[in-house]
Amino acid sequence: MRPFVEAELRARARMIAGLATGAFTYLLVLALTYHSIGVVALGNAFGKDTPRIFTAFSGSRSTDVLSPHGWMGLGFNHPMLMITSLTAALAIGTGSVAGEVDSGRAQLLFTAPIARARFLGAALVVWAVAEVVILLAALGGAVFGGVLSPDLRHAGLASLAWAPLQLLPLTAFVAAVGVVASAYADTRGRALGLAVTLVVAAYLVSVVAGLSSALDPLRWATPFGYYDPGAAITRGLRPWPFLALTGAAVVLLLVARRRLARRDLA
């Protein structure tokens, strides 16, 4: 399947490069703003009462969002980076079946003497390569910005690497949602519409859950509730959310595989 993976990556090279550039630039700018907009002063002004909207968007209940690492955690959970990293997952996920049928390439690819499930496996490799490139770019932006920012540099930059690593299973889950939608939908448009609706709804639920203590348990009903970049940066990789999201993604992929084996591809 290596030639297929290469062809898919070549076909998506511009998208991946664009998203990686966006992720790098965004985290770089965010790191630089820590000093330039005076987040420390902002924190002093708020005292211990940081507005919940900040913490809700940071995705972290346990870290000070206005600390240097908390600020970078907010960056790794900001809708801008979410869109950048999840676009690749959704595009590749929804393209894996319905996209190939839509484009007509399924007629040549899925008639080769290869089990359909192997194309799903290859799509996952394509997603993994694309996502690693984008997340490394994001990390690169964060580290580069951190080097230029005295506060972040002083707090330490090595632990920033945990945030994209913690994000990886979330993007895997979203890619799996895209693959399932793609396996069930007739067209890529429908698959994308379905997957984006689910992901946006899940994100909004996680943000709303962060706005009030009473709503907090809702976070566990969405995949975003299992992603806490601030905690990852301050305390290291959190294994059980990592494994929970990875396990859920595997279950979704098994559902997609079952559906793909039975469906028509023309």
Partner: protein, 294 residues
Amino acid sequence: MAAPPIRCAGLTKRWGAAVGVEALDLDVEPGSVTGFLGANGAGKSTTIELLVGLLRPTAGQALLWDVPASEPAARARVGYMPADPAFYRTLSGRRNLDLLAALHRRGAPDRDMAADLLGLSGRDLARPVGEYSGGMVQKLALVQAVQHRPDLVILDEPANRLDPLAHRRFEELIRRIAARGGTVFLSSHTLSEVEDVCDTVAMVRAGRLLAHRPVAALADLAARRVRALFDTTPPAAVPGLADPHVDGHVLTGRVARADLEPLRALLATPGLTDLTVEPASLEDTFIELYGDGR
């Protein structure tokens, strides 16, 4: 006895109330070149997509050498060209061919032969497919279908966008495949093409098989054309002569196979100076089979 390259056994495909193919039984002999004919929506493409494993049958079986077409192993010896081929547009023709050859894992021993024959140069193959004309995409699709020297080549409307010269070369390609013992199964709207390159014809209507026999034998099913020249005004009708038409001194009509009575009657008609009986063309047969509701 060797398993047939293609066997449809009670093959049925429905989408709710819509019928694609209904209880189709069809065996294709090894080494044959079979034309698959039918009007638009008759079930040709549905049958082909069942045979290459893209569609799952509602009932019955689509078998390749007695293995269900849904099994990857069944497709290992097959080359397929869809009616609307689509490639990676940003990749060159050659890269697309490399990818598809790699998926078939049989190399590309016939790529150069097919590309040369169809007029796809090395320069053409180096260009991105997005820059190709419709005819070039069609040629590339033909090359990918045969490059790995498959034992069975399935082509869906293969000559749709080919110019007359490329069309001739396409026919030569089919003859070469047949000459090496390959089996070809092609759907087409171009009856002359089927008549020229196929030795067997299968006809479908509304998802059901109408006829499956050698081209020559199929033509026997249709009435022959008769043209009689008279030195006087021809008779307006002759017993047994169908669709009589008089134009000046010429009487034309059709006679059914093995029905010599109208011919005897014509020969006995005073003033007859010439009589020609032409075999029915495949087109006549097609129209007749489709027209009479059989």
